[in-house]
Structure formats: structure tokens, C-alpha cells
Subunit: 331 residues, 2 copies
């Protein structure tokens, strides 16, 4: 295993410590619960937004904590749901009089942790509500889910509810917006290589040198099929087609298009994929109104991409364009 790690069991804690050290003015780190929170949370005048998940998907979600996005994230270990008490302790620390919205990608372990935390928080008199994200079109039930998986589309849910909360929307309204985004967001990914969890020290699954996994999950779960490696244009065409046909997206739609890297694919390749996807959508009469190219929801060092489309309307265009201040910056 060739990684920048010390003792693999300290990987998550050391990553979070680095994140906190890099953002001393804006983030607070509570090691006992893998908790990264806004230094100024809770804000009394806004709904607080919390997301947990396994680690290994960075920048989701710990690097998405900041003004206009999440108030807190409390990841579990690599690819493991956070324990319920991590979520409960997080909710208590960021609870606002306007309530707390819990965002959960739809995996069984995460659902259980968040539903338990929601109950515990409600018993304390905290108005907490949970919203499940399930944007992955590749499979219905899967290794770790009943129903569809939540993947990179979660970025758009975070962004929209974060913006709405910042503007003072109440919990019902924030929940409505998040539900709406999830209902018009669709994603499919594919892997060129497996990923290697630090504690395992070897690739999570076997993928021959000439094969790819179409519809891979963000924990390396199987997708729709194994197939031979082909030229980018052929593989991207299949990804985009699967996403378009699912909602379905149609001629005249305005969309946000995200090409998300899974961790090991360089940004030059992501822009090449973006160009192919953009032109395919244009041929279908689907207008890309906002573009997102980079890493948003990864699978450790997996080489691969996912393509997300979100059908836009004026409300979502407004929310997606709102300012946000999160740790990841490039200038």
C-alpha cells in the first residue's frame, strides 16, 4: 500500500486534525466524535445542517463545513457509518432554535445511526429532521442499501439547503428544498481501478487491467456490470445515457452537470469527460446551465468518475449560485 499514512487506525483522526489546523478561524474539531463544525455554530437565526457518512469520500463531507453549506459533519471510520452517539453529540452541539436538518446518504448503517440520533435529539426537545439522499441510478437495492444509494448528488442537496438555511428559511422549507433537489438529481459512476482502504492495505476488490466497473458504488460496491475498458467517449456515453433516461431528462431542460472524480483520476481527464458529456447533452437539446468539474465525493484513491445531472428551475439556479465559504479553496 503506497499512501501517506502513519498508523492506519489513526488515518481519520490525523486527516481531521490537519483539516482543523488548516482552518483555525472557521472550523472547530471535537476529536471524540470525529466532529468538524463551524466555529460560529450554532447560529440562532438559521436551521443547522449536519451530514455524516463514512470517511474516505472527501471533500464530502468534512471539507464542506462552512457558511452556506454544512454546520457540521461527523464521519465514521473509512467507509463505516458514524456511531449514533457521534451524530447525537453533533446535533446537541449545533442545535438551533430553528431546528436541525440531518442529511444522510442512503446506506443502511448510516440510516440506523441517524434515525437513532434523531430520536434521541427529539427526546431532548431538539427539533431534528432527517432527509435521505439516493441519487445513484445504477442499481436498486445494493450491498449496503435497501433502495438506491446516495452518491455525489449529495453535494447539490448540501448546497441548496445550506443556502436556504443561511437566508433564514425554516425547517419545513429547508426540508422541502432538499427533498426537491434529491428528486431531480441523478448520478452514475464507474471505476477504472479499485480503492485501497488504509486499514486493509490492499485493493478492496479485483479489477483486471482491461476491465471497468460500470455503476460502481462509492465504497467499491458492484454496479451494473463489468465490461472491457473502452475509449472515453464510449464509456461516458453510457454513463450519460443511463442518467438521462432515469429521470428522464428531456430536450429543453436546463441542468447542472457535474463530472466528479473518484479520487485517483486527474483533473485533465475530468475535463475531457466533461466535454464529452456536455456535447452529448447538447445533442439531446439539454442545456448545461452550471458546470462542476472536480472532486466532490470520492472513494479514497479509486480512479474513476461519476456524472451527475440536476434538473434546474429558477429557485435552484438561485440557490446554487449563492455564496458559500468552505475549506476547499483554490485561491
Amino acid at each position: 500500500m503506497k499512501k501517506f499514512v502513519n498508523d492506519p487506525k489513526d488515518f481519520v483522526a490525523e486527516m481531521l486534525e490537519g483539516l482543523a489546523l488548516a482552518n483555525p478561524d472557521t472550523l472547530r474539531y471535537v476529536p471524540e466524535y470525529n466532529l468538524i463544525m463551524r466555529a460560529d455554530a450554532p447560529q440562532e437565526a438559521k436551521v443547522s445542517i449536519v451530514q455524516g457518512s463514512g470517511s474516505g469520500h472527501e471533500p464530502a463531507h468534512v471539507m464542506s463545513v462552512g457558511k452556506g453549506m454544512l454546520d457540521a459533519a461527523c464521519p465514521g471510520d473509512v467507509f463505516a457509518a458514524p456511531p449514533a452517539d457521534f451524530v447525537y453529540e453533533t446535533v446537541k452541539r449545533v442545535a438551533s432554535p430553528k431546528g436541525v436538518l440531518l442529511l444522510v446518504n442512503n446506506y443502511t448503517g448510516d440510516r440506523m445511526a441517524f434515525e437513532m440520533a434523531e430520536e434521541l435529539a427529539q427526546a431532548d426537545g431538539i427539533e431534528a429532521r432527517t432527509l435521505f439522499i439516493d441519487d445513484d441510478v445504477s442499481v436498486e437495492d445494493s450491498t449496503y442499501t435497501v433502495g438506491r444509494r446516495g452518491v455525489a448528488g449529495n453535494f447539490f442537496v448540501m448546497k441548496a439547503v445550506g443556502a436556504a438555511a443561511e437566508r433564514g428559511a425554516d425547517l419545513d422549507e429547508v426540508h422541502r428544498i432538499g427533498t426537491k433537489v434529491n428528486s431531480v438529481a441523478r448520478t452514475m459512476g464507474m471505476a477504472l481501478t479499485a480503492c485501497t482502504p488504509p486499514a486493509k492495505g490492499s485493493p478492496l476488490f479485483e479489477l483486471p487491467a482491461d476491465e471497468v466497473e460500470m455503476g460502481v458504488g462509492i465504497h467499491g460496491e458492484p454496479g451494473r456490470r463489468r465490461e472491457k475498458l473502452r475509449q472515453a467517449k464510449d464509456m461516458v456515453k453510457d454513463l450519460v445515457t443511463a442518467v438521462v433516461e432515469d429521470l428522464p431528462f428531456a430536450s429543453g431542460d436546463r441542468v447542472a452537470l457535474m463530472v466528479n472524480g473518484l479520487g485517483g483520476t486527474p483533473i485533465g481527464e475530468l475535463y475531457l469527460v466533461y466535454g464529452l458529456a456536455h456535447k452529448q447533452l447538447a445533442d439531446l437539446g439539454i442545456q448545461v446551465h452550471r458546470s462542476y468539474v472536480g472532486e466532490y465525493c470520492t472513494s479514497l484513491d479509486m480512479a474513476g468518475v461519476s456524472v451527475t445531472l440536476v434538473r434546474l428551475d429558477d429557485e435552484l439556479i438561485d440557490l446554487f449560485g449563492a455564496p458559500a465559504e468552505i475549506p476547499i479553496r483554490v485561491f
Copy 2:
């Protein structure tokens, strides 16, 4: 080779086309010269800033074109200097009455192309001046250089001269600032794996499973030494020590600290490295005033990192904090 490519000889053109499609309002793409320029360039009231280099280092430099950074970038093929006429045609298109500053990482091929373009532009009456960047401490002369190599520290030069130019500084002043940044920026990198150029289709060099290349160049050139893979803390300590001792940085210094991923290393590991470097600097009494964690100057899909330190003063803190609008965004 597992990459998102079509015909490998089209890789750069297809990447640039994707970049242009993703940024239709702000960027203009001139395919004949691999030219990505601000749609609103030239701006008469400011010095224009141009950088070329080989491709394969993205987001350097084509994804750094925008307000407050570069006016244009004209890369060559992967790891190949742009032909002189690419640079010359670029300079003509963005030439402003206030002049053009050409930024060049110190590689022999790039120097030749830019010096020739500078002469051609001057013969046309364009006030063009070249600034060489050589922040890499790992080796003196190298495979492709006389003198030191220019690597991730070029980001800080771009940012500072871009900010100064945007504020209306003249060519002398912009050149002074860029020279100053280069004089206080130091970088060293290391590779865990080799990179694979699309046209080659196989790794550029051999690196055994238990070895790393300390001081690697951004084209996979040899560094100081091969050594056994160790824990992150031991490898990072050596990187930081080499950078600190070179300037040297000293107790009481305020610095910008960049942990730059070389393309295949996930951001979770970059933050772990950041935390180790930050604490080592704190132990030396060196205060990190600004942090940069992510990919700034890559080597295709190479797994590895570089560490850059820049000694700050009030002028540089002001310039680094200026706004910029470039393609890479996360919200």
C-alpha cells in the same frame, strides 16, 4: 493504461475543449495554439499575464486563467514545452498597452520558447517581459534544466502578479512582485508512484512497490534519492526540513504553507500531510498564516505530494488575499 482518453494524441485538445465548454462566459479557446484566454482579454488598463508549460500539470496553468490570475495559458503537449509560435500568438492576442508579463517555469525547452516569443513580440512593439520561476530545492541542475526547476511555487507567483496587475500596477512593479515571490518560495516533492502519459501508455519510470522518489520532478525526473517507503510523518519531516533549511525559513517567520497533490493522491491524505507539516513548522516557531491544500501543479496521475513554503510580509499577505475568479470552483 487505464485512463479516460480517446485517441491519446487528442488528449490535450479534448481536455481544453471540455474546459472551454464548462466556462463559456469567462474563457475563450483558440485550438490552433492550445490557447485558453480570458474572454474579456486584453484589458487595456492592466498588464496581461501569460503562462505556458507542458500539459499534464493541471490545474496549472489553463485552469488558472481568469480575473485576478492569468490572462492566458498556452500549454504544449503533455510534458512538452509549447512551441514558440503558440506563445507569440498568445502574446499578440492578449497584448495590452501596459505590457505583457510571461511566466515561465525554469525548463530549458520552455525558456527557449518564451525567450523567442518575447523577442518576436518586442519586434512588434509589444512590451513583453519574462520571469523565470525556480522554486524546487531538491536538485540544482536536472534532466531538463540548467539551474533549479519551477514547480508548485508558480501558483503563488501567478496569484501575486495577477492581483497586482488587476489593481493596475505597471510592468516594472508586477515584475518586481513576481521576482520577490519567487525569491521567498521553496518547494520539494516526492512520488509514491510514477505517472503514465497518455501517448506512452505505460508508467514513465519504474518505482518498486516499497520505494519512493524523494525530490521528484513534475515530469517524473529523478530527485535526490530513492528510498524505502516510510510512515508519512517520517517522509513529510524530510520534505519540510529540506524546504525550511534552503531559504532558510526561521523562527518568527510568517508563511504560506501549500500541500500540493501530484494527481493521484486523495485529498484526505493531503490534509493528513498538511497536519504533520503544520505541526513541524509550529515546533520551529514558524507561523502558518495561509494554508493551501489540494491540487495546484500535478504530474498527471502520479501519487505523491509537494510541500511549498512562502515567506510572507504584509505586501504578500495582501496580494494573496485578493479575490480571483478561475475555472476551478467547488460551489
